[in-house]
């Protein structure tokens, strides 16, 4: 019986295309990101001051911070989607953007006059920011989970959490095209919370959705 199986499998063999795992994940993130971008533009709209925003440093800091979380998360997902794939050399890099953003927030709070601190932290949209980011992350998350179901993750909870984090990072980068907040403490708290939320969801549903 096992002999028949081996006969059949080797008879059906097709040459594998190169770069399979990385490409599959990148395509999924790209398609998910495009869907998220479209949804964001239609439902929330680009920030009205976009041309001027492109000239500001904080616009690029937000994009860089969230984009780095997304890219580093995806890089670790590439390992976690393979049996015996060890993410230990990739996951720790996530500390860099997190620490840099936290340091920037602390410095800004420290130098600000005390009556300013509350608005640096809360901005005008603290109540919706994290939630909107988590929602923007949904299409990317769905794409990544779909891609990973065709791969072979073996640490399902960690793989789900990391996929959620990557989706959160990209979702936040897309949301940053809508959100006009400019304070570092605001980004460090509410953007990060928006990224961590899909990661937590991923840790919860990973073991169920990623089984193969």
């Amino acid at each position: 019986m096992t002999d028949d199986l081996i006969d059949r499998l080797s008879h059906d063999l097709e040459p594998a295309r190169g770069g399979g795992v990385g490409r599959r994940l990148a395509v999924a993130a790209g398609v998910g990101g495009a869907a998220a971008g479209l949804g964001m533009v239609l439902l929330l709209g680009l920030r009205p001051d976009m041309p001027q925003a492109l000239e500001t440093r904080m616009f690029w800091v937000k994009l860089g911070y969230t984009g780095a979380l997304g890219a580093l998360g995806l890089w670790a997902v590439e390992r976690l989607s393979r049996p015996a794939g060890d993410p230990a050399r990739r996951l720790p890099w996530l500390v860099l953007p997190l620490a840099a953003m936290a340091a920037m927030a602390v410095l800004q709070l420290g130098f600000a006059p005390s009556e300013m601190r509350r608005s640096l932290l809360m901005g005008a949209s603290a109540s919706v920011c994290s939630w909107n980011i988590a929602l923007t992350a949904v299409p990317v998350f769905v794409g990544l989970i779909w891609a990973m179901r065709g791969l072979a993750p073996t640490r399902l909870r960690l793989a789900g959490a990391t996929a959620g984090l990557a989706a959160g990072g990209f979702g936040a980068a897309i949301y940053a095209l809508h959100c006009p907040e400019v304070a570092a403490p605001f980004v460090a708290v509410w953007y990060t919370l928006g990224v961590v939320t899909p990661a937590a969801v991923g840790a919860l549903v990973g073991p169920r959705l990623l089984r193969w």
């Binding site: 096992t2 199986l5 081996i6 499998l9 059906d12 594998a16 015996a84 791969l151 072979a152 073996t154």
Partner: protein
């Protein structure tokens, strides 16, 4: 091809050829892996369990359908055993038994199967040891694993030399029985 004769390097070469569409290499690879998997699962399931062959086939299928997740720069066996281990845990989960595959299994994935037999043997001994009374366990460990003398062991546990020898004799007898899978108290 005898599985003990094929090295990691040869298997990896077969896998790479298989990924490029070489059917003969791929068939040779699966034939070899099949034997290893048979050993892997039958050592971990109850003796003569019919599920071992199902798991071998499941794992071969997964190796085939998910072969693009093999990283060409990495060794082959750890990848294949990681799939086998995943299938084993999944099997335990489905059958509703709360058994976790011990972490030392991860080491096993990195070693070639001939060495894994030694790892398995050690684990079996540890497991059997754990069923012995504590005093006996300390004696067996001290005398047979740390290889101390009877006098040193006697001093350590505060018993006479004679008492150590008698307890040791009983302990080894019980241990042998446990490893054979029967309990001396039943007889």
């Amino acid at each position: 091809m005898n599985s003990a004769d094929t090295s990691e390097a040869e298997l990896r070469a077969l896998m790479l050829a298989g990924l490029d569409g070489d059917r003969a290499a791929y068939r040779a690879l699966l034939g070899d892996v099949r034997l290893r998997l048979g050993g892997y699962f039958s050592r971990r399931l109850s003796r003569g369990s019919p599920e071992a062959e199902d798991l071998v086939q499941d794992t071969l299928m997964a190796i085939h359908t998910r072969r693009e997740t093999y990283d060409r720069a990495q060794p082959f066996l750890p990848w294949a055993y990681a799939i086998a281990r995943y299938k084993l845990i999944d099997h335990y989960r489905r059958s509703g038994r709360r058994i976790s595959v011990p972490l030392e299994d991860a080491e096993h994935q990195l070693s070639v199967p001939d060495e894994s037999a030694a790892v398995d043997a050690r684990r079996d001994i540890e497991r059997a040891l754990a069923t012995l009374p504590e005093r006996t366990r300390i004696l067996v460990r001290s005398l047979k694993i740390e290889e101390l003398s009877v006098a040193e062991t006697a001093e350590r546990v505060g018993m006479t030399d004679g008492a150590v020898k008698v307890a040791m004799h009983r302990g080894l007898k019980a241990l042998t029985a446990r490893l054979r899978g029967s309990d001396p108290d039943d007889r």
